[in-house]
Symmetry: C2
Subunit: 502 residues, 2 copies
């Protein structure tokens, strides 16, 4: 094929499609005609021996000159392209792994190689969003058998960086999620590492929540460390709390989670593979997995929790990682703050042993830290709790936290919001439940996590009797407009509290 006929010059327009590679070409483009490309076609785009598959969108002729094309930001990054670069375009060869994806859609069982092929191609950005969606839909429900979940987990580990540490026991914790404010990691890591266990924690940013652990940590210290910097911090402090995205652990997971969130599908097999692949890739040997159970949490009942527990332990054992699960109360948020800075305030209050520190956050963190500590062979079973309390009460955990922050680049002071508004009770009564999802929504409308100081500060918790006009929570926002949005959501009748009139 006369390859030089198939080139276009890249113009930068700055189009954010999140993680979908899109190429934009002119309507009268000679390549579209000669290759028979139409809108939504999948196109192989090549530059300097890098190749991506992109979805074609067609621009009318005003935005691009003849012989020009542009890319979505994600595609620029994948190709490491610069404006003015000359790209090559052609029909892609059919991806072999798409035939395995289709086999799964038709209900067939996949073997290890087939799953590995799919994951490799997804990770390289070769799948369109609808292809990922079809694969995920096919994996949901009874879509994956236990052997397939194991193979999927393994394939996701192998698709990214895998860290190895010079220690027999490398601990970690994970929370299955759905509870706003649940920032135990920032307390567990300093307790455990102050004792001397190794806990190199990588965590995620918010996807659909008002703050991820990495977002909250970022208001206290830099989290955007690469592998070399991470190793330095861990060598010095036994642990760290950084953003996992920068070290590329199980990178496939980000792509899958994005589509799962958009579809609002929680495939159990995918959840197990997602959690365990990140932990195995991080080099962990012993992991506590916190499974909050609650009507508005991710896991809604005991039966679902039991099934998830069994899957996690079975797959973990097969892949050589020791998993313990904890079932916890997921009926309301943990701590008072929801949003990066407000959560950071809660964490600091617990670490600094302040009298107004949220008791539930402290208790949950101690519970998890106790279990993590007992992974150490130097500790007698049953003594983890006492040890965790000592490490916290003595200030050793607080010292360690400060040292970790310094090692990651320097401790920061959390910002405060310019605008606040107190929401009060419209009637007296007993609060019987708190809707985690709606509370998270309000924090997001107020600006979290982009606006670090924004969010919600709970002033009461469930099982409390309130008077009419009693303050229930404070909305924090960095702009007046965002505050108004959060308030209007409440005014539309989205009740946060379930109340029993007194």
């Amino acid at each position: 094929m006369a390859e030089n006929h198939n080139t276009l010059r890249l113009k930068h327009l700055g189009i954010d499609t999140y993680k979908e590679a899109v190429i934009y070409m002119r309507k009268d483009c000679h390549i579209c005609r000669s290759e028979g490309f139409e809108a939504q076609a999948r196109v192989l785009v090549s530059l300097n021996n890098r190749h991506i598959l992109a979805t074609l969108n067609i621009f009318e002729n005003t935005l691009l000159a003849p012989n020009e094309a542009t890319l979505s930001n994600y595609a620029w990054d994948l190709l490491q392209a610069q404006p003015g670069d000359i790209i090559q375009l052609s029909h892609p060869q059919p991806l072999l792994s798409l035939s395995y994806m289709r086999a799964k859609v038709y209900g067939n069982t996949l073997n290890k190689d087939e799953i590995s092929n799919i994951i490799t191609d997804i990770t390289q950005g070769y799948y369109s969003d609808i292809e990922v969606a079809a694969f995920l839909a096919a994996c949901t429900g009874k879509g994956l058998n236990p052997a397939e979940i194991i193979d999927l987990t393994q394939a996701m580990v192998e698709a990214g960086t895998r860290l190895h540490w010079n220690a027999a026991v490398v601990v970690d914790k994970h929370c299955v999620g759905g509870l706003p404010g649940n920032r135990t990691s920032l307390i567990v890591v300093p307790i455990v590492t102050a004792f001397g266990l190794m806990m190199p924690k990588t965590s995620s940013r918010a996807i659909t929540s008002p703050a991820g652990t990495a977002d909250t940590m970022e208001v206290l210290a830099p989290v955007n460390l690469d592998v070399a910097s991470m190793r330095k911090v861990v060598a010095q402090e036994n642990g760290c709390i950084i953003w996992g995205g920068a070290v590329s652990l199980s990178p496939t997971d980000d792509i899958l989670i994005r589509i799962e969130n958009a579809l609002d599908i929680d495939s159990e097999g995918q959840l197990v593979a997602s959690v365990l692949s990140k932990k195995i890739a991080a080099g962990s040997t012993h992991v506590i997995i916190d499974i909050p159970i609650g009507k508005t949490a991710k896991v809604r009942d005991q039966a679902a929790a039991e099934q998830l527990k069994n899957q996690l332990i079975t797959v973990g054992k097969k892949l050589g990682i020791n998993i313990c699960t904890l079932f916890t109360d997921g009926s309301q948020p943990i701590g008072n703050g929801i949003g990066p800075a407000l959560e950071a305030h809660d964490v600091l209050a617990v670490l600094q042993n302040k009298t107004n520190a949220p008791a539930d956050l402290k208790e949950r963190a101690l519970l998890i830290a106790s279990e993590v500590l007992e992974f150490s062979q130097q500790i007698k079973p049953g003594t983890g709790r006492q040890l965790a309390e000592q490490l916290l009460a003595s200030g050793k955990a607080w010292q360690k936290f400060q040292a970790i922050c310094e090692a990651q680049g320097g401790m920061r002071t959390p910002p405060k919001a310019t605008f606040t508004h107190i929401v009060t009770a419209k009637q007296a009564g007993k609060i019987t439940a708190i809707n985690n999802r709606r509370l998270a929504k309000i924090a997001k409308l107020a600006g979290a996590p982009q606006a670090k100081a924004a969010g919600v500060e709970l002033l009461i918790k469930a099982d409390v009797v309130v008077e009419k006009q009693q303050p229930l929570f404070t909305i924090h926002a960095e702009t007046r407009g965002e505050l108004a949005y959060a308030l209007s959501y409440i005014e539309q009748g989205n009740h946060i509290f379930v109340m029993e009139p007194s």
Copy 2:
């Protein structure tokens, strides 16, 4: 909510995303911040009491002024928007039908109302592409039981126009597809309507093939008729051959087929619903369905054909439409031409009883016409064939075809290509099979169906012994570049013929 804070002015940029509604907003847009919208969010866009759900893409600030947004062409059409219009933006309420979609993904059975809800929302453009993809993936394989296929078919009929005709017997034919050049409809309709049966034929344009029946008919007469014009033609001539898209029969089908094609998934349940919903919506009472069987056709073996036949007949009976199936040879193209004008030449040669008319196209058309004619109660069983031959040989079918073309707006002369190239045999041997898919690909690379005169003209068929250097087929193209693309595909080693050396 202060609604006037949530408005933007529409700028026209002309972005073709095919059938996905996309809204493009500035990175610093106040609505994105206040509503917490990020790239890929689903946004409710409203204008003059029309509402659509669109996927958000973010532009850097150079393409849009503050307070401006733009839409994909599909979204402009759905909203019937004009540049300068002020649109309202907000968070959409969760779609109820998405919970049914998820139930199907989790493997549950859906009832009639749930399926109807999903189809209504998809038809209104409320589903994103990945949501449609997840639904289709969940319906594939054993995804739909017989009752669900019936409900799906019914829902797809109800989502669009439904035609009713003043006749007890309204006939139609359909080919399950995958065979290039198979333009029997253009011969069957005039034979059957010349006899006096009513056959108001609506057909599709090419989606992934080098020509749809509507594309081929369009080189001979206008096909873009609305319902009123269609009724006039049918009242006068007993039949027509028009494009179904303009009369909005089973409009959901276009959306589903687009995603099925992109995923290369052929769900049997979807195929049955697709075919039957179009026929029922068109008001047909008796339909012949041609199922070509061949290794490179859509239906690859006898068992698959039998299963499809049973589904079609069962669902048809339940929905009050009489279905007969024909299994035919799908091992090679029917007729010599592939591409709109080349296929039209074949059709004209058959209708005009030319001696060089392709015998296989004539035979296939007579076979189908015989079966269709026997739907008439005025015909004794077994006499359809003789009648069909008479109607064709006597020139009555040719007269009727011309009359239909005139009634549709005037008969046209098919164009001829400027550039042709004859591909010859590299060695002597016997042709044992022809790859339908690769041949279709060459015709598309040469420019079909957009370039009406482009395509492939077969000079030999299977089971023929050829000499070295003997001409095999001619490529027709309207531009030199397209001819070169078609040739380079062959040079890359994509063999069209399976040959047995002699």
